[in-house]
C-alpha cells in the first residue's frame, strides 16, 4: 500500500556559530549565521524514506521560510531521497511564532491527501516542541510525538501507525489510524549520508513554491503582528561562574569539593 508522506523540515543556525538577534525586532538574524538542516528533522526524513522503501509511495519535503536559505534545506532533504519539495515563502511570515508556523504549515498541507506527516520532535534552535502537536491540532488529526520508532501496518482504508514514544523510564507503545502527524525524536535512526548521485538527482526534482495567499493563509494570523506571543526584549545572559579549579595531584580534591557543596547547601 503506497504511502503519501510529507516531512516538515526547518533550516536552523549551526550550533557552533554565534547567534545574532536583530536589535529591531529580536528575531534571529538568519542570514548571518551558517544554516544547516535541523538535525532532528534529518531523523524525520530518514524515517520517511525508510517507510517509503518498505511500503512504496512518495515523500514530499515541506518547509516554511525565506527563499534561498530554506530552499537549501529542502534541497538537502531531496538529496537524501525525498521525491519533491513544497515551499511556502512570504515576507508576511517573518517573525511568526511556533503556533503561527504550525497554522501556516497546516494550511499548506491540508487537502493534499497525505497519509502521514512527519516532523522532527523539536528544532535545535527554538526547541519548543510546540509545532508537531499544534500542527496535528490545526489539521484535526491524531498527533503522536517523541517517537523513537515508527511503523505503518494494515490494509487500505485501515492503515495504522504505531510508535514507541520515549519516556524517561522506558516508552509507551501508541497507535492511531492514518492520516496522522508524527514527531520523530533525535536518535530514532542514523540519517543516511548524502551521495553525489543524490545531489545530482535532487537538482531535477520538482519544488512547488507558494506564497501565503496561494496557501490560503490568513495574514492576520502570521508574522510578528499576527503571532499571539510577543518578544519584549532580549539580553545576553551573564553567567558569572566562580571558576574555582583544583588539581587532584594531592588526592584531596574530593574533600574540597564536598566543602564547596556543603557551603552551597547542596549536601
Amino acid at each position: 500500500m503506497p504511502l503519501s508522506i510529507a516531512v516538515c523540515v526547518k533550516r536552523v543556525p549551526d550550533t557552533a556559530a554565534d547567534k545574532v538577534l536583530d536589535p529591531a525586532d529580536f528575531t534571529l538574524d538568519r542570514e548571518v549565521v551558517e544554516a544547516i538542516l535541523n538535525p532532528v528533522d534529518e531523523c524525520a526524513v530518514e524515517e520517511a524514506l525508510r517507510l517509503k522503501e518498505a511500503h512504496g509511495g512518495e515523500v514530499t519535503a515541506v518547509s516554511v521560510g525565506p527563499e534561498g536559505a530554506v530552499a537549501k534545506a529542502i534541497r538537502r532533504a531531496l538529496s537524501m531521497g525525498c521525491d519533491r519539495g513544497l515551499h511556502l515563502a512570504d515576507p508576511s511570515l517573518h517573525g511568526s511564532d511556533a503556533l503561527a508556523i504550525a497554522y501556516a504549515l497546516a494550511q499548506l498541507l491540508a487537502g493534499r491527501g497525505f497519509d502521514l506527516i512527519l516532523c522532527g520532535s523539536e528544532s535545535t534552535d527554538a526547541r519548543t516542541s510546540l509545532v508537531p502537536p499544534a500542527l496535528a491540532e490545526f489539521l484535526d488529526l491524531p498527533g503522536l510525538v517523541y517517537a523513537k520508532t515508527v511503523a505503518v501496518s494494515g490494509s487500505p482504508g485501515e492503515l495504522k501507525v504505531r510508535i514507541h514514544r520515549e519516556r524517561d523510564d522506558g516508552y509507551d507503545v501508541e497507535e492511531a489510524l492514518l492520516p496522522a502527524v508524527v514527531g520523530v525524536n533525535w536518535g530514532a535512526n542514523e540519517p543516511r549520508n548524502i551521495s553525489f548521485k543524490g545531489i545530482q538527482t535532487a537538482k531535477s526534482k520538482p519544488v512547488e513554491e507558494l506564497d501565503a495567499a496561494g496557501a490560503g493563509i490568513d495574514p492576520a494570523r502570521v508574522g510578528l503582528a499576527g503571532s499571539k506571543s510577543a518578544v519584549l526584549g532580549a539580553a545576553a545572559r551573564s553567567a558569572e561562574r566562580q571558576r574555582i579549579v583544583v588539581d587532584d595531584s594531592d588526592g584531596q580534591a574530593h574533600i574540597k569539593l564536598a566543602d564547596f557543596l556543603q557551603a552551597q547547601g547542596l549536601i
Binding site: 550550533t15 557552533a16 538535525p39 511564532d97 511556533a98 503556533l99 534552535d125 527554538a126 516542541s129 510546540l130 502537536p133 499544534a134 490545526f138 484535526d140 491524531p142 498527533g143 503522536l144 510525538v145 523513537k148 504505531r162 520515549e166 519516556r167 524517561d168 523510564d169 522506558g170 516508552y171 509507551d172 507503545v173 501508541e174 497507535e175 492511531a176 489510524l177 533525535w186 536518535g187 503571532s227 506571543s229 510577543a230 518578544v231 519584549l232 526584549g233 532580549a234 545576553a236 545572559r237 553567567a239 561562574r241 566562580q242 571558576r243 574555582i244 579549579v245 588539581d247 587532584d248 588526592g251 580534591a253 574530593h254 564536598a258 564547596f260 557543596l261 552551597q264 547542596l266 549536601i267
Partner: protein, 330 residues
Amino acid sequence: MSDVWVLVDHDRGAVSKVTQQLLTLARSLAAGTGGSAIAVFVGPGWTGAEALVARFGPAAVLVASSDELAGYQTGPTVEILARLIAERQPWGVLFASTAGGKEVAARVGARLGLGVLADASAVSLDAGQGNRPLVEHAAFGGAQIVRKTLRSAPYLLCVKPNAVTAVEAPGGQPPVEPVDAQLSGAARRVSIVETVSTAAGGRPAVDQAAIIVSGGRGLKEPANFSLVESLADELGAGVGASRAAVDAGWYPHSAQVGQTGKTVSPQLYVAVGISGAIQHRAGMQTAKTIVAINKDADAPIFALADFGIVGDLFTVLPALTAEIHRRKAT
C-alpha cells in the same frame, strides 16, 4: 478571569515535583491577579494524588478522573482542559514545560486560538499592562535571555522544572469539584497499547531532577556509569549522559543532556568525564551551580564550572561519593 490554574503533571496519580513548583508559583501569581490558585487534575489515580496536591495550597481542585483515561495519550487531557478553559476563562494555565506538558499546551492553544509560551524560567505579572504575563526564557543554549508576553488570554505558560522553589502551604484539604470526564471520539484517537519500563527506576527523571550527575566519554566504558550512578544516588540526583556516551550506546537517549537531548536547569549539575562541547553546553549551562571533573585541564567544561577538579575521575568519584556519604551520616 483572575484564577491561576495548574495542570497537575502526574503518572497515574504519582504527582511530579514540577507540579509542586507550579502550585507554589500559581499562589504567588494569584495574589497579584486577585484570584485563586486552582489545580486541574485529569487522568486516573486522583486518590493517590490528593494528599500531595493539597500540601501545596490550591484553593480548589478540578478533577476529571477515571480509569478509562489511562488508555489514551494526551487527547483526553486536551479535550477536558480546553473545555474547562473555554467555560471558565481563568487568567491562565501553568503547564510543566516537559514533553507531555508542552504537547497538551500546544494542542489546547491551537484548539482555542490562544498563544503558548514554552520553557519559561521565570514568570511575573505586568501590572501596568492589565496583569499580562512577563516570561523569561533562555534561548540559544542559554546564551540569551529573552523576555516575552502573550497577546491572547487565557494565558498558556509552560514553566521549566526547577524555575521556582516549591513551598508548602498549610491549610488542609481544598474543595474538590468533579468535572465532566466525557470524551469524544477525537480524544480517543491515539491509544496507548502498552507501557514498557526499561529503567532501573527510583532516580528522578533528568529533565525534572534538582541535581544531575552526568557522564561522558571519559568513563571509558558503559559499566563505569555505575560510578556516576553511585554519586547520583548519594546526592538524590538524576543521571544524565553526553551525546558521545549516548551515541556509543552506553546510556539511553532519554538521559541525554544537550542540544539533541534534554535542556536542564538544575540546582547542581556535575559533569563527569565530559569535555563540554558546545552541543552539551547548550543543554546545561543554565544550571545554577556547575561542577566539572575531568583529567584534561584544558577541557572547555572548566570555563563554565563553578568548581572544577582536574583529576582522574576513577579515583575522585568513589572518594567523593564516600565523603558525601560520611558527611550525610554525621
